[in-house]
């Protein structure tokens, strides 16, 4: 990863141009051409450094979601993780170091649809699902300073 990649990743987490050729505008600021911007973003996306280029939506701006947790017996973890991942409504799933060891986000078109997924997971695993919906956000997500060193 060179200096241009680092600037791409750090400097364009917000204010991405809403113009016909946004990658050309990024290129102008970086001193490279449009094709190279697109090629670099493609490489960084394939390599996993960039999750996506696009809009970050306010939670619940469209649809409903919740953060849910399960305390899965260690020997069951792989099976339950695969079961949870198979739901298209689950868009994040992390294993964490705690008795509550599986933490996932369920997003669907309505609160009822979210509840139905949690009930289904609970029914199929026999585990209680801890349901922790967002009550209030305290942070406006404007990106994250990567502090290259």
């Amino acid at each position: 990863m060179d200096l241009v990649d680092q600037r791409l990743l750090n400097d364009f987490q917000r204010d991405f141009p809403l113009t016909a050729r946004p990658y050309a505008e990024l290129g102008e600021k970086l001193g490279i051409n449009e094709d190279e911007v697109i090629a670099r973003l493609d490489r960084l996306s394939r390599g996993g450094s960039v999750s996506r280029v696009g809009a970050v939506f306010r939670p619940h701006a469209v649809g409903a979601s919740t953060l849910a947790a399960l305390a899965v017996p260690p020997e069951e973890l792989e099976r339950v993780a695969a079961l949870v991942n198979a739901y298209p409504e689950v868009n994040h799933n992390y294993q964490r170091e705690h008795r509550l060891n599986l933490w996932f986000v369920v997003t669907a078109s309505s609160a009822q649809a979210v509840r139905a997924v949690l009930d289904d997971i609970s029914g199929r695993t026999g585990l209680d699902v801890l349901d922790l919906p967002l009550l209030e956000p305290f942070h406006i997500d404007l990106g994250f300073d990567l502090k290259w060193s």
């Binding site: 990658y23 450094s49 970050v56 701006a61 868009n91 992390y94 305290f138």
Partner: protein, 160 residues
């Protein structure tokens, strides 16, 4: 502005862009074609969603893990209901906190009501961030935990 008053076209644009804009010369033209409108309309509506706060930002979404931020800590704090707004504003304003949310507690096993995500390259750095939150909250926090992630099992964009 709630989700309820988004127009069908707004929703179609959200659905078409939630996994990212295409990496082509004219990405909004591609989105417009997919949802059956003009590129000008796509850009104008995204501008409006941004102004209304439905879209928080448009840009690159980096993957902290892949960039060496291997210590992803979900810090959870037991804050009294009457103190939550004060505590939330204090923690939410920290530049190293990427998300800060009030969530319901579930007594007796889960007393934690304030969630703040931190990211660090080393364990010691992560511990220092947690300590600085603890110091900032002082007596507003009656107890806390840090749940480090040991594995990402799934991570995709919003899907509706």
């Amino acid at each position: 502005m709630s989700g309820g008053i988004l127009s069908p076209l707004d929703r179609a644009i959200v659905r078409a862009t939630q996994e990212g804009l295409p990496l082509v010369e004219r990405p909004y033209h591609a989105v417009a074609e997919a949802v059956g409108t003009t590129p000008e309309e796509v850009m104008a509506r995204m501008e409006r969603l941004l102004a209304a706060g439905v879209i928080r930002r448009i840009g690159l979404v980096p993957n902290h893990y892949a960039l060496g931020y291997g210590f992803n800590g979900m810090t959870v704090w037991d804050v009294a209901d009457e103190d939550i707004a004060e505590a939330g504003l204090l923690v939410g304003n920290l530049d190293f906190v990427s998300h800060c949310y009030h969530r319901p507690r579930h007594l007796p096993h889960w007393p934690y009501s304030l969630f703040a995500m931190i990211h660090a390259k080393e364990k010691a750095a992560a511990d220092a961030l947690v300590a600085s939150i603890a110091q900032l909250l002082g007596p507003l926090s009656r107890g806390h935990l840090v749940l480090f992630s040991s594995r990402i099992l799934k991570k995709t964009g919003l899907r509706l």
